[in-house]
């Protein structure tokens, strides 16, 4: 009795604890009373991106994480809120966006993080709107020594073919007109700003401080072998205390970079053409001046860096340089209406299923069905709380597959009760009193429940670790429910049975109790004694002792030993 109440008290502690955790989360944090829904129930778009890989090429976890960060930056830049970006498996990235993304957003997500070095041909302080305020910029003549007459039919191809990437001849009247009207604010919008490798590019600095006309790509980002942020060293080897970014090029990059710096260094420092721009995804992340000809492929970018900004630039150089493009492997749009219909129907199916299970339980186990019903309700409450808490803490989202997992688990949960009740009935058939039948049935039944739940849990864990996508959500709920099943059957169903066994209704074997010994075939022998049914009167001899010993668990062996010891004690 005491034990039963203690188990129930523990159960109460668990339920109250979970409720308090969730309530606390709702009051003081971002938790909600209902679990968050996955895309297939809430509506939205899910994109699965796979890297475009050369054969034999692999993706490291670090690269994938960096790619996720880059994609997140890109989506945030489009103003889409609540996007979820996760890695899936060893090389895929899953992007979940509420609503339907437009083409430019899609384009932006897919394009590879392209890092390139372009020489600066012309630069200027960006104006917020080039159209409303006529630009007080110097005319092309001043800056480039070339006359450009803005006419309706602007010449779009260079009249004199440019000799190198810094050649002002790249700047055609059409390009300059485009440059004049280019608004840095548009860069932040969904359009990815790209130009072919061999063409000039009009762009702005990240943050929109400066506008640039850049020459064709001279060094590709892939040639960067490494980039590190570090404190700038003086020629004596001491530290200047200023942060800088050190780049290491590979052989190809070293050669190209040497050629570029040689040319750029020839320009006076006041000339914008002395500078080269580092362009990531079409936006200038830095445009340092050239202070020396770098022939060893190890340039240092210095400036007004903080430790943080130096680290960011180094990361951008190192990872942005990945030749990692992504292609959309699958794209799935679910309208919000369809999602909610699915959820409603799923819940409806669950309720019908549950009702049928409860009806069947009552038909088979009479009033014991109420124990099954109560156990299911407790299991339902605990499962709900755990899922709501995980949804808050771990970002778990309930998907349609997860709902299916929950519905399916009703059967597996009820099976534990069936196994237990059938064991109790077996013990009653052997002529035991109900109180001892409950205990004996529990000892045997719980072993079976643990063993079978272990198999089920193992399946859930392996599926969760190894499987992808939807399967994960399904495996997750299955695993949670298996654990809840063990909690409920040991801390609720069993103590309830212990208590019920002492009640008049169940203990007295009322015909409707589902535990009526007479109906169970145990024959009454008078004064709480039942004759053991004929065929079950197994002579408990030790003839098959060796088989028994072989199949015994340690616990059973110990129990047998102590029983034998006890028996001896009685005999003597």
């Amino acid at each position: 009795m005491k034990k039963a109440w203690r188990s129930l008290a523990w159960l109460a502690v668990i339920v109250v604890g979970l409720t308090a955790t969730l309530a606390g989360g709702v009051l003081f944090s971002t938790a909600t009373w209902t679990p968050k829904l996955a895309l297939d129930l809430e509506g939205g778009t899910q994109l699965i991106l796979a890297p475009r890989l050369e054969s034999g090429q692999t993706v490291s976890v670090e690269q994938l994480d960096q790619a996720v960060a880059i994609i997140r930056q890109r989506i945030d830049a489009t103003g889409v809120s609540e996007a979820e970006i996760n890695t899936q498996g060893a090389e895929n990235i899953v992007v979940s966006i509420p609503g339907v993304p437009d083409d430019s957003t899609l384009e932006r997500i897919q394009s590879s993080a392209k890092l390139e070095f372009r020489p600066v041909i012309f630069t200027d302080v960006a104006t917020s709107s080039a159209i409303n305020e006529p630009t007080p910029t110097p005319t092309p003549t001043d800056a480039l020594g070339e006359t450009a007459t803005p006419t309706p039919e602007l010449v779009a191809t260079p009249t004199v073919s440019p000799t190198d990437a810094s050649d002002p001849n790249w700047v055609t009247p059409a390009l300059f007109d485009e440059y004049t009207n280019f608004d840095c604010a548009t860069l932040a919008e969904a359009q990815t700003n790209v130009a072919p490798v061999g063409e000039p590019l009009i762009t702005c600095e990240a943050g929109g401080g400066f506008k640039y006309i850049l020459g064709p790509v001279e060094v590709a980002g892939e040639t960067i072998a490494d980039a590190q942020a570090g404190l700038q060293a003086t020629s004596q080897g001491g530290s200047t205390g200023r942060w800088a970014v050190n780049i290491t090029f590979n052989a190809e990059g070293t050669e190209q970079f040497a050629a570029v710096t040689e040319r750029l260094f020839a320009f006076p420092e006041s000339d914008p053409r002395n500078r080269f721009a580092i362009v990531l995804d079409g936006v200038v992340i830095s445009a340092p001046t050239t202070n020396a000809i770098i022939t060893d492929g190890r340039p240092e970018i210095s400036g007004s860096f903080t430790q943080e900004s130096a680290q960011i630039l180094a990361d951008q150089l190192k990872f942005g340089a990945l030749p990692l493009g992504f292609e959309v492997q699958s794209s799935d749009t679910i309208s919000a209406t369809l999602g909610s219909t699915q959820l409603l129907n799923g819940l409806l199916a669950g309720i019908i299923g549950l009702a049928l299970v409860v009806l069947y339980s009552f038909s088979q186990y009479r009033m014991l069905g109420s124990v099954i019903l109560a156990s299911l309700i407790i299991a339902g409450i605990i499962t709900y709380l755990i899922i709501a808490i995980l949804s808050w803490r771990q970002g778990y989202r309930l998907s349609l597959a997860g709902v299916a997992g929950l519905i399916v688990s009703i059967g597996i949960t009820v099976d534990s009760f069936i196994v237990y009740f059938e064991r109790i009935r077996d013990e009653l058939r052997d002529g035991k009193s109900l109180t001892s039948a409950v205990e004996a049935g529990w000892r045997r039944g719980f072993r079976t429940i643990l063993a079978s739940d272990a198999v089920s849990f193992l399946a859930a864990v392996i599926l969760f670790v190894l499987a992808v996508g939807n399967v994960k959500g399904f495996a997750f709920t299955l695993g949670v429910v298996t654990i809840v099943d063990i909690i409920v059957v040991s801390l609720f169903t069993h103590p309830m049975m212990q208590l019920a066994a002492r009640s008049k209704f169940f203990g007295g074997g009322h015909p409707l109790s589902g535990l009526d010994p007479q109906a169970l075939g145990a024959v009454y022998r008078g004064r709480a004694q039942f004759r053991e049914p004929a065929a079950a009167s197994s002579i408990k001899q030790q003839s098959s002792g060796r088989e028994a010993a072989k199949r015994q668990t340690i616990a059973e062996r110990k129990a047998a030993e102590s029983a034998a010891a006890l028996g001896k004690g009685k005999d003597s």
Binding site: S330, A349, A401, G411, E422, R429, T448, V455, L466, V471
Partner: protein, 334 residues
């Protein structure tokens, strides 16, 4: 008490008994015939029909489309809308979601084509473009799922065989359980192939769940076998002890299957009637078949195979001999 309870009483005492182990030839033959039928049927039908998640393609769904005067949905306008954008396409149009939505599947299309088709479909059915959803699945996606699934399968089988061997202290139970599992998977897959149900990722989830369920069910039966073979007296042979265990857990097996089938059946019903094709129906369908077959295999395959595997062990033979002798001398009826 219900009739099943009385039935349970008789099974428990041995008053009524089914020859699960003794007539194993029949059960094995039935199993082999089932495998042969589904296998031949699948081959004759031309293999499995995979969903577009595996073959790759584009799919559109129009929610709440305008209906014809008689309340039905005109399916030809959908095909026309697709063909107006991509002349060579082969659209497959079907009504889903209890007649509330039209589903159009095509070969893989370009993103720009998909968007144009979305607008065309919205115009054709007089709905807003937001009511038209589009999905596109690259053919490699299905391969990725399959690869992940096969890895999971191998790892799971390894671990579960090890755990069962440790728990039951005999590898023969693991073998018997895995044979039953293989049967379950073969038949479930076979039914899909035989009846031409579409294999979707959701169906794959269903298959994977059968793994857990089938073994779960077998473990319950085997635990009773383990118990009976420990405690069993000298009057029963090893095979008879196993058979009694299976009989004694028969009511549990029936009840469990029914209780497991009821919720799955209601998903299947709701899914098929109200929703049409979809995640819920696909999971439920695979599970429904799997649970039925899993119950059969635990009783008619796993237990007899275990008896078969152990019948030639010296220890078991000795015990059987003793049991037969004990019976002939005492004249006890079993």
């Amino acid at each position: 008490m219900s009739r099943l309870t009385e039935f349970g009483n008789d099974l428990y005492t041995g008053k009524r008994s089914f020859e699960f182990v003794g007539r194993r030839r029949i059960w094995f033959t039935v199993a082999l015939v089932m495998i042969a039928v589904t296998l031949v049927g699948t081959v004759l039908r031309g293999g499995f029909s995979f969903g577009i998640e595996f073959s790759g393609g584009s799919e559109f769904q129009v929610a709440n489309p305008n209906t014809l005067p008689d309340g039905s949905i005109d399916q030809t306008v959908a095909a026309d809308a697709v063909l107006s954008v991509v002349p060579g396409a082969t659209p497959r149009v079907s009504i889903v979601n209890n007649g509330d939505a039209v589903r159009i599947q095509t070969d893989q299309l370009e993103v720009s084509e998909s968007n144009t088709i979305r607008s065309a479909l919205a115009a054709a059915y007089g709905v807003d473009t937001t009511e038209v959803t589009s999905s596109f699945i690259g053919a490699t996606w299905g391969n990725d799922i399959t690869r992940a699934m096969l890895t999971a399968l191998v790892v799971f089988l390894f671990f579960v065989a090890a755990i069962m061997a440790l728990y039951f202290r005999t590898w023969k139970m693991s073998v018997a359980a895995l044979v039953a599992l293989a049967f379950d998977l073969a038949i479930t897959a076979g039914v899909y192939g035989l009846l031409g149900f579409e294999v979707t990722p959701a169906a794959v989830i269903g298959f994977l769940t059968i793994l857990g369920y089938s073994l779960y069910d077998t473990v319950v039966v085997f635990d009773k076998i383990r118990e009976n073979t420990i405690e069993e007296s000298g009057t029963r042979t090893f095979a008879e002890a196993i058979n009694l265990a299976v009989n004694q857990t028969l009511v549990r097996s029936i009840n469990t299957s029914i209780v497991a089938l009821l919720p799955v059946g209601s998903i299947l019903f709701i899914g098929a009637v109200l929703l049409g094709a979809g995640t819920l129906r696909d999971i439920a369908l695979a599970l429904f078949i799997g649970i039925l077959v899993g119950t059969y295999s635990s009783i008619f395959i796993a237990a007899p195979i275990y008896a078969l595997l152990r019948q030639n062990e010296a220890l078991v033979r000795k015990k059987d001999k003793r049991a037969t002798e004990a019976r002939s001398t005492s004249g006890a009826v079993v």
